[in-house]
Structure formats: structure tokens, C-alpha cells
Amino acid sequence: MKIKSALFMFIITIATILTGCEPLMVLDPKGPQAERQARDIMLSIGIMSFIVIIVFAILIYVLIKYRASKQSPDYEPPHIEGNPWVEAICVGVPIIIVAYFSFVSVQSNYIVEATPQKYEDKEPLVIYASSSDWKWHFSYPEEDVETVNYLYIPTDRPVEFKLYSFGPITSFWIPQLGGQKYAMSDMVTTLHLAADEPGEMMGRNANFSGKGTAENIFNVTAMSQKDFDDWVEEVHETADPITEDEFDKLLEPGHLGQMTFTGTHLDFSPAPEHDHESTETTDSEESHEGHTEGMDMNGEHSEHK
């Protein structure tokens, strides 16, 4: 028994050291949305630990105090039906906690589903992120640039991702910038992110979409607006234009490295923004050609019948 518990302690210690080395990705935010989410996570861990400790404390107390081996053999436990006051507390306190969490949750919902508050006054950069088995295509309609499996974004400016898929449902996720959202093939969903500081980050498809899901990863680089503009210029000077034939080849199942093109596939293969259910358009500037009828998933969903 001693060896077992010693081994157990050893493993726990190792785990603590290993995880202590660097902050966990989700709790190491690089943008306002991820920051809000990390704050909610830490808040809920805090309050929930308090509840767990109370339950543990009561449990340990009753187990020590009322174990049979400690009591006289003729002790007869009493018949107790319940006490309205005790039960009122057991209902009341959780209700207060849940009410508080509900308040925070609703507030956060509206924050993460909108342009990051910090950068509300700046014009958002619109990027179409579409997935195919098992790659990501990033189209910058205003910059007229398209990349595969890597993403350059400017810092200190809202980035509006328009997500859709050429195959199964995927989920676009850059943990350090904010939570994920699904990309589906029959509509476009919107994810609002922003980066506070320059740096490299991991992005991935988090939703199982078949054999190649594990490698369905992309690199994200955040840089200053000036560097970003330079990059766009450089792409226009060096990269080849994307053609329909070329793009069809890219769509075939498999893995690709990083690629860069001028032009976007949206010109010949527009995003599924058809308004077969929604008449609502996004309030952001939707001036880029041919995509004015934004099927914005942030709106009401009730038309889906």
C-alpha cells in the first residue's frame, strides 16, 4: 500500500510540474475574445471549487463521525423525514449561484458574438475561412489574396471570419484568439476575433471530419497593420493568381502545405450566403462584390422551418 501511495504522489507531482511549465493555451489569451472566455473559465473554476470543497467537507465529516465502527452496537439511527429549512438552503444557494452564472453567461454570449468591444471603432478585416478535406482556405476579398493552411492577420483590429465548408462539418478554432465555431457547407457562420499582440499561434479544425482531421491544422501569425500591408503587397508581386482548375485540385481530399495566391476563389465559387432562410443582413460593411446578402448566423434562427 505504501509503495502504491508513494507512486501516486510521484505521478501527481510530475503532472503538476509538467503542466506548470507553461500556461495552458486557452488560459493564455492573445485577444479580447479569448480573454473574456479565459476570465469566465477562471471565474467558474473558482466558484465551483468552493462548492466541491463544501461537498467534500460534509462528506468527510459525516463519514468520520457516523461510521458504524465508531458507534455503540445498539445505536439506532433516527427516522428523519427532512427539514424544510435545510432543503430551502439546498435549493436556494445553488439557485443564487446559477443565477449569477446565467447573468455572466448571457453577457459573455453577446460579447463574443459581436465585434470585440476594444476595437469597435475600427473597420473589421473580413476573411473567408473555408475548409475542405483536410485543409483550410483563407480568402481575403478586399486584399484580393488567398492562402492555404496559414493565416496572416493584423493586430489591434477586429477580424471577422466568415466560415463555411466544402465537406463535412468542421470547426474553426484558434484557442489563443477565442473559441471555435462550426463551418458548414450550406451556410456561412461568423466568428468575431481580434489579436492584441504580434505572434504565432496554432489554429485547427476541432470537429471530427474524417481520416485527416488530426492533421487539419493551420498557422496563425498576427502582425502590425503595416507588416500586414507589406505582406499583401508582396503577395501581389510574387504569387500566381488562383484559377478554377487549380482550386478544384486543391479541394481533392488530402493534405497540402502552405500556399499563397492572388485573387480569391470566391470569384468563381462564391460562399453559400444564399438567403434561403434569413432576410437579415449583417450590420458591418459588406461592400465586397457579390456578397451583400450576408446570411448572418448571429440573427434569429426561427426561420429554419
Binding site: 503532472a15 509538467l18 495552458l24 486557452v26 472566455q37 479565459a38 469566465d40 473559465i41 467558474s44 465551483m48 461537498v55 467534500f56 462528506l59 459525516v62 463519514l63 457516523y66 461510521r67 458507534q71 445505536y75 439511527p77 433516527p78 428523519i80 427532512g82 435545510v86 439546498c90 435549493v91 445553488p94 446559477v98 452564472f101 446565467s102 455572466v104 453567461s105 448571457v106 454570449n109 463574443v112 458574438e113 459581436a114 465537406g167 463535412p168 462539418i169 470547426s171 478554432w173 484557442p175 477565442g178 473559441g179 471555435q180 465555431k181 462550426y182 458548414m184 457547407s185 450550406d186 451556410m187 485547427r204 476541432a206 474524417g210 481520416k211 482531421t213 488530426a214 448571429n298 434569429e300
Partner: protein, 648 residues
């Protein structure tokens, strides 16, 4: 030859060939054994044709244990694959098949039959009934489940396993992206066993509403019976949804319809919604009976009545209602927007309130009690802290904005295993140990049982708690590998070690059964735990008619009050008892269902038509059959009772 090619496994490996050989040898061994020991007649008369709720319960339990080991092997394979970065143990396709079947097997073919086992065995005894309301329907339910389970399990040696996850989201599960017959197996096998579950739901509700012993009002029912009632109300509410969804999915795959496709007006999100409209209440179908078992055990081994009986009942009813309005929390990230996410976020968190009430009521049942640390009690006491952790992480996940970060990660995997294992699996093992003496007439060894519990709990903590951390560090679920640079390696290795320890614990359960069969005392009386409810008031082994005289109930713990407060349980004289006859029809009809399902999976239409006709022929036969059951005479009962009294 072309006809047979479709039955080949699309991605064979040595492991699959080895399993084929193993399955073949096992089948031959079983057939040879039955023939050698001349047990075919016994098997047919006593088990295959039985309509006795106790035997059906035991068959459910054995099937569930078998499936537990199948799903467990899947789990070990997954943890072994992920134990080291860039592992080559399994390729992506195999890993996808393994986690898909692990989920389906554990939920549909392990947890469901396990709770049905206890419902079947315990509920009629607890309410003082002779059997369930529709004994033959009960046999059909079991055999439908069994044939569904077997059909699902042959998938990995005939035609290929499903590989689109246990949630089987379209369009991934559609023909374009899942080309093997695996997803057909998923659709048909779950359909067949789901019909069985629906029948059980109707059967159990009728049994509880109509067949309680005189004096047992609704508010005097034992807590497990209450939980069964509520769980079965959820079953009849939501199982039709999955039935329809599976039928639509089958038509999409086999008949070219477009319910869930992304073209021609199909809607892939519709599948996700329908699946979780059933799928979320499903987890409460599993957990509520588990709560019922814990209530019985904690009350028995605290030597006290259950604290807050009324609030226990009320909380279950509230949970069952809320369980039907939370489904969208499984896809907060689908883009339905802040408003609907807020709604589902609040309803989900609200479930924490009634669940918290239950946790505190169990704690207060221990209070002023006289706590005996038996094996069933250890599982129940382990459940309280571990499930609390699983519950509070559930509240964390319910915060939809934060869920964007938890979704599809190992954090979620840790959460639901943290609720299902201490919640459902512990309850099943506790119930197994608790009811074992009633079922088989001897107790399982306590010492081995305690070792099992501690190994299981240590293994569980090591296996699943690291996932909370890797999830927050960005490890997505359902990924067959990860690179070393991610740094997930050490914690995944720890998970693998934990899974290994759990595997040892499960092996110990088997050893415990073997050990106890050989060495345990058979002289244990009919009430070895000093329990409180009616199932312990009859003999061990339980005679087929359960109670020679219908019990009279005056309180929610009638047997305890009969022992301590001199309530008279059996005031009447022994009279003749009406019992249902055995029938081979359920087994035959469900065997035809197996053929029906198999021909559906492979789209062999002539066979499908023949099987369909066969099923209808069985039903027609039943309609014209003249079977009014039989009577056991009073003399015969006297004789049995005397013998059983002597045995004790």
C-alpha cells in the same frame, strides 16, 4: 464472387483477422460445450423462451458485462494509441472506427441494458408484483436489444465498423464521406435495439402504474422504482425522435433521400438537432436509475430512511423535464447566435439545482446514520465526490461563451466520462454487488471487491483528470495522433496508465465472480445486507412467482418497518397464482429481426422482403394464439415455500 466482396472488411489488419478467428473459436466452443453437456434443452427452456422478469434481467446484465469488456478494449486501444506522440499503433481509419464503436457500445449496448437489468430484476420485486405488466413484450424487448447489439458487433468483421463518431453527424455520415456499410450498421442496429427500449419504456410505466402492491401509493414507492418510472417516461418521450432520425438517416444512405444532405434542400444541422433531442435526455435515462440505486444503497448502509424523500422525487421530475430543453448545448458553436445560446445555457445550468438537492440529500442521509463500508456503499460514497466534480465541470461547460473553448476538446471528454463513470458505471457495479446475492444466492467477495473499487477509482482519476488539463491546453478530441511539440505526451501517458489500472480493476471483477462461485458461502439467508425494501422480503433464490402472498405496504420502506415496527407484510392466505407461459416466439421473431437488419445493412432486398414477411408472420401467429397463461396451485406453492424456508 462479387456478391461476397461486399462482406469484406475495407481496412483489414492482423488484429481484425485475429478477432475473426477468436470469434469463430468462441462460437465453436460454445456450441461444442452445449452439445457435450447436453444443455441445448436447458438453454431453450430456461433462458431463450423465458418471460420471467428475473431471468430477463440477468440476461440483460450478462450482455451488458460482455459489452462493457468490448467497449473497454476499444478504450484501451485508444489510450494506447494516444499514450505517445506520433504513435503508429493504429492508423487514422482504425482509430476513428474504435472511438465510434466505443461510444455506441458503451451507451447503447452497455449502459442501457445494465439499467434495464436492474429495472427488470428489481422493480417488480420492489413493488410486490409477480412480473412486469407485459412479460412477453419484455422478452421481445430483450431479444431486440440483444440482436441489435450482436448486429452492431459483427460490423468489425463483416463489412466494416462505423467511423463517423457515435454522434454520426451528417454530412460526414452520408454516402459521400462514409462509403463503407459501417454507418448502415449504426443506423439499423441502434434502430432495432431502440425499438426494444421503447417497448421496455411502455412496459415499465404500465407495471409501475398498475401493479403495485396494495397500500403502495406513489409517494410510498421506493426511490429506485420512482427513478425507473421517471426514466421510462423520458424513454417514451424521446426514443421516437431517434427512431425517426435513424429512419431518415437510413433513407438518406440507402434510398437517396435528402433529409440531411447539404444539397437539394437537405439540412445537416437537422440531424444534430434530432440526435441531441434524444441524446441529451438519454443521459438522464441512464443517470436517474443510477441515482435510484445509490438512494437504495446509501439508505440501507446508513441504517436510515432516505432524507428528503419528497424533494428527491421532485428533483427527478424537474430533471426529467429540463433534460428535454437543453439539447442545443451540444452545439453552442453551430452559430445559432447569442440569444438561443443564452436560453440553452440557462436551462442547462438550471439542472444543477435539482441535482445539487440530490447530492445534499444523500449527504444528509449519511448524517446521524450508522455507516457500514461495504462494497456497494464504497461505490456510492466514491460516486458523491467524483460526480460532484463531473457536475460542476458540467456547469462550466454550460456557460456557452466559454464552451466555445471547451467544445470538441478533451475537457469535454473528461467531463462526460467524469459523470458517466462515477455516475452510471459505479452505480451498475454497486447494484451488481448489492443485488448479486438476491440473484444468485451467494455474495461476492468483499475483500476483492474493495480492491476493485480502489483500483477503479485511482485508475479513473489518473485516466480522466489529465484530460481536463490537456483540453484547456488545446488538445481536440477524436484526433488519432498529435505531434510531440504540442506537449500533450506526458499527460496522455498518465491517462494510459490510469486506463490500464481500470482494466485491472475490471479483470478483478471477473476474478471475483469466479472466486465467489467457488468459495462463497451459500448460507446467507434472504436479507444479507439488512435492507429496507420489499425485494429482500422474499426468499433467495426468488421463486418464479416472487411472493407467495401479495404484500401489504404501509410505508416507503415496508420491509424495514416489518422487521422493526411489526408491520404485517403478508396478512393473507396462500392462493393459486396466475403466471404467464414461456414462449419461443420472441426469440424467433427477434432472430428474424437480426436477418432483417443484416439484409438492410447490405441492401440485400430479396432477403429483406422475406425477413419482413417472417416478422409479420410471427406477429400474426401471436394474434391468433390462444394462450391464457397458467395457474400454480396453492399446494405447489406451499411445497415450494417449505423447501425455500428450509434452504435458508
Amino acid at each position: 464472387m462479387e456478391f461476397f466482396e461486399r462482406f469484406a472488411v475495407p481496412h483489414p489488419s492482423p488484429a481484425i483477422y485475429a478477432s475473426m478467428v477468436a470469434i469463430g473459436l468462441t462460437v465453436i466452443a460454445i456450441i461444442a460445450g452445449l452439445t457435450y453437456f447436453k444443455k441445448w434443452g436447458y438453454l431453450w427452456r430456461e433462458w431463450l423462451t423465458t418471460v420471467d422478469h428475473k431471468r430477463i434481467g440477468i440476461m440483460y446484465m450478462l450482455s451488458a458485462l460482455l459489452m462493457l469488456f468490448r467497449g473497454g478494449v476499444d478504450a484501451i486501444m485508444m489510450r494506447a494509441q494516444l499514450a505517445t506522440p506520433d504513435s503508429k499503433l493504429l492508423d487514422a481509419q482504425h482509430y476513428n472506427e474504435v472511438f465510434s464503436t466505443h461510444g455506441v457500445v458503451m451507451i447503447m449496448f452497455m449502459a442501457m441494458p445494465f439499467i434495464f437489468a436492474f429495472m427488470n430484476y428489481v422493480v417488480p420485486l420492489q413493488i410486490g408484483a409477480r412480473d412486469v405488466a407485459f412479460p412477453r413484450l419484455n422478452a421481445i424487448s430483450f431479444w431486440l436489444f440483444f440482436m441489435g447489439a450482436m448486429l452492431f458487433n459483427i460490423s468489425f468483421v463483416v463489412g466494416g465498423s462505423p467511423d463517423a463518431g457515435w454522434t454520426s453527424y451528417f454530412p460526414l455520415a452520408g454516402n459521400d464521406f462514409s462509403t463503407s456499410v459501417g454507418t448502415n450498421y449504426y443506423m439499423i442496429a441502434i434502430q432495432i435495439s431502440g425499438i426494444g427500449s421503447l417497448m421496455t419504456g411502455i412496459n415499465m410505466i404500465t407495471t409501475i402504474m398498475k401493479m403495485r402492491a396494495p397500500g403502495m401509493t406513489l409517494m410510498k414507492m421506493p426511490m429506485f422504482t420512482w427513478s425507473t418510472l421517471v426514466a421510462n417516461l423520458i424513454i417514451v418521450t424521446v426514443f421516437p425522435v431517434i427512431t425517426v432520425a435513424l429512419a431518415m438517416g437510413t433513407m438518406d444512405r440507402l434510398f437517396g433521400t435528402h433529409f440531411f444532405t447539404t444539397t437539394n434542400g437537405g439540412m445537416d444541422m437537422l440531424w444534430a438537432n434530432l440526435f441531441w433531442v434524444w441524446g441529451h435526455p438519454e443521459v438522464y435515462i441512464l443517470i436517474l436509475p443510477a441515482f435510484g440505486i445509490y438512494s437504495e444503497i446509501i439508505s440501507t448502509f446508513s441504517g436510515r430512511n432516505l432524507y428528503g424523500y419528497k424533494s428527491m422525487v421532485a428533483s427527478m421530475v424537474v430533471i426529467s423535464a429540463l433534460s428535454c430543453v437543453v439539447w442545443a448545448h451540444h452545439f453552442f458553436t453551430m452559430g445559432q447566435g447569442a440569444l438561443s445560446n443564452s436560453f440553452f445555457s440557462i436551462t442547462t445550468m438550471a439542472i444543477a439545482v435539482p441535482t445539487g438537492v440530490k447530492i445534499f440529500n444523500w449527504l444528509f442521509t449519511l448524517w446521524k446514520g450508522k455507516i457500514r463500508f461495504t462494497v456497494p456503499m464504497l461505490y456510492s460514497l466514491g460516486f458523491i465526490p467524483l460526480f460532484t466534480i463531473g457536475g460542476v465541470t458540467g456547469v462550466m461547460l454550460a456557460m456557452s461563451a466559454a464552451d466555445y473553448q471547451y467544445h470538441n476538446t478533451m475537457f469535454l471528454v473528461a467531463h462526460f466520462h467524469n459523470t458517466i463513470i462515477p455516475g452510471v458505471v459505479y452505480a451498475m457495479l454497486a447494484g451488481l454487488t448489492y443485488y448479486w446475492p438476491k440473484m444468485f444466492g451467494f455474495m461476492l467477495n468483499e475483500r476483492i471487491g474493495k480492491w476493485t473499487f480502489w483500483l477503479m477509482s485511482i485508475g479513473f482519476v489518473l485516466a480522466f483528470f489529465p484530460m481536463y488539463i490537456t483540453g484547456l491546453d488545446g488538445q481536440a478530441r477524436r484526433m488519432y495522433t498529435y505531434s510531440e511539440a504540442t506537449g500533450f505526451g506526458p499527460l496522455n501517458m498518465l491517462s494510459f496508465v490510469g486506463a490500464g489500472i481500470m482494466a485491472i480493476a475490471f479483470a478483478l471483477i471477473v476474478y471475483n465472480v469466479y472466486y465467489s462461485v467457488r468459495y462463497a458461502s451459500r448460507n446467507i439467508g434472504s436479507d444479507p445486507w439488512d435492507a429496507r425494501t420489499l425485494e429482500w422480503a422474499t426468499h433467495t433464490p426468488v421463486p418464479e412467482y416472487n411472493f407467495a402472498v401479495e404484500p401489504q405496504v404501509h410505508s416507503s420502506q415496508p420491509f424495514w418497518d416489518a422487521k422493526k415496527n411489526k408491520h404485517v407484510l403478508f396478512p393473507n392466505e396462500i392462493e393459486k397464482i396466475h403466471m404467464p407461459n414461456n414462449s419461443g416466439l420472441p426469440f424467433i421473431m427477434c432472430s428474424i429481426f437480426f436477418v432483417w437488419g443484416f439484409s438492410f445493412v447490405f441492401a440485400i432486398w430479396p432477403l429483406l422482403i422475406i425477413a419482413t414477411l417472417g416478422i409479420f408472420a410471427c406477429m400474426a401467429y401471436r394474434s391468433f394464439e390462444n394462450d391464457h397463461g397458467r395457474y400454480i396451485s396453492a399446494e405447489e406453492i406451499h411445497e415450494t415455500e417449505d423447501k425455500l424456508r428450509g434452504a435458508n
